[in-house]
Symmetry: C2
Subunit: 205 residues, 2 copies
DNA sequence: GTCTATACTTGGATAGAC
DNA sequence: GTCTATCCAAGTATAGAC
């Protein structure tokens, strides 16, 4: 009871930030590889090299490659949920609904395109192998998407607008951007604001 | 000269539809595997089994796994370009621009979600390995995307709308749909029409 | 054109020293 | 907690018969 729930990474919660230090480095190295080449194409040797350790050493921290992928996804989803929530807190609960949606979209795009690799890894390839751990990841995904569901519900959309399809449309547009985003073009925020603007006028009544 | 350009698949052009018959079956089997699991996770043995042949037999038709992927992508891009072009012909060159865009979006979504697997394989994972063949695939991709660029240019958008970002937004929304589409929900056409509608009013000036 | 058989390489994972 | 060494399975690709 004294320690609450010891966080798996020791980073988000701020509790015990130094313990299991290499575990998080390992996850970050893996996330980089997964983003660059995809999960299946990434080898444990590559991950080990990226983390500056020997392949065998990975298995002290993770029981399998799939276990490592799961950890990366959980971390990524936890972070993106926290980042978007923080952005919403910053803009305030009584800000206009479209402004709140824009804030969330900006947070999502910044995280996906310029933030930590954990976010990006989540969107690159979801673990399609049927594993017990997949349920947890799916649950976290659902939690995150619910943020956007609520924001859309608050817009007071016209009755002939299907909020679910609209949400999937927006999320698809955002997530696909990691395939074409270039650092010398629009910033993630600018892209997000354009997306919202292109939807806004037609639907705000 | 008599045969014009002998088509690589013998299917699209209508010339010599029976020759190299198994080659196309093989490509289709491979496309199925690539869509289901991704390129890297797919093995030559699986492809062979799906095509009803022995692993070694593949190499009579294709020199490598990457060669097979390239062929699948080229075929998919050739087909989606043809299908979208045909849909535009059907709706007519002097139809209203938004109607033409809708027709193209419907063709794209139908192809991606319910059409031949070749289309879908193209969107699942692009060949990121640097290979000479990648240039050809990229060129075909560019050709296809140019169709949408032209359609958007014809809309006569307000000056403060960035046509490129709008195109990428729409393409992202569409391509991401293959991750959430269910046969018991909206049809591909219905989804495409919603997407277009949610963009239309705000932007038609 | 397809098969069988197999060469050769790479990958995930383990064992045990330190 | 990390390393070295290694096992074993699985992968791509080839050779040659039919």
């Amino acid at each position: 009871m004294a320690h609450l729930q010891p966080d798996q990474t020791g980073e988000l919660s701020g509790i015990r930030p130094r313990r299991n230090n290499r575990r998080l480095e390992l996850m970050r190295a893996a996330a980089h590889c997964f983003v660059a080449q995809g999960y299946a194409a990434t080898t444990m040797r590559e991950i080990a090299a990226a983390a500056g350790m020997q392949p065998g050493s990975i298995y002290y921290h993770f029981s399998s490659k799939l276990d490592l992928l799961t950890a990366v996804h959980e971390e990524g989803l936890r972070r993106i949920t926290a980042a978007t929530g923080a952005a919403l807190d910053r803009v305030g609960g009584d800000a206009p609904p479209w402004e709140r949606l824009e804030a969330a979209a900006c947070a999502h795009m910044s995280a996906l395109l310029e933030g930590d690799v954990f976010f990006t890894a989540v969107m690159r390839d979801l673990p399609d192998e049927d594993t017990p751990s997949r349920e947890r990841v799916t649950a976290l995904r659902d939690d995150y998407e619910r943020i956007f569901s609520r924001l859309l519900a608050d817009l007071g959309l016209p009755r002939d607008v299907d909020a679910r399809t609209l949400r999937l449309m927006l999320m698809g547009a955002m997530n696909w951007a990691h395939g074409w985003y270039r650092k010398d073009g629009d910033t993630p925020d600018a892209i997000a604001r354009k997306f919202i603007r292109y939807l806004r006028q037609s639907l705000s009544d």
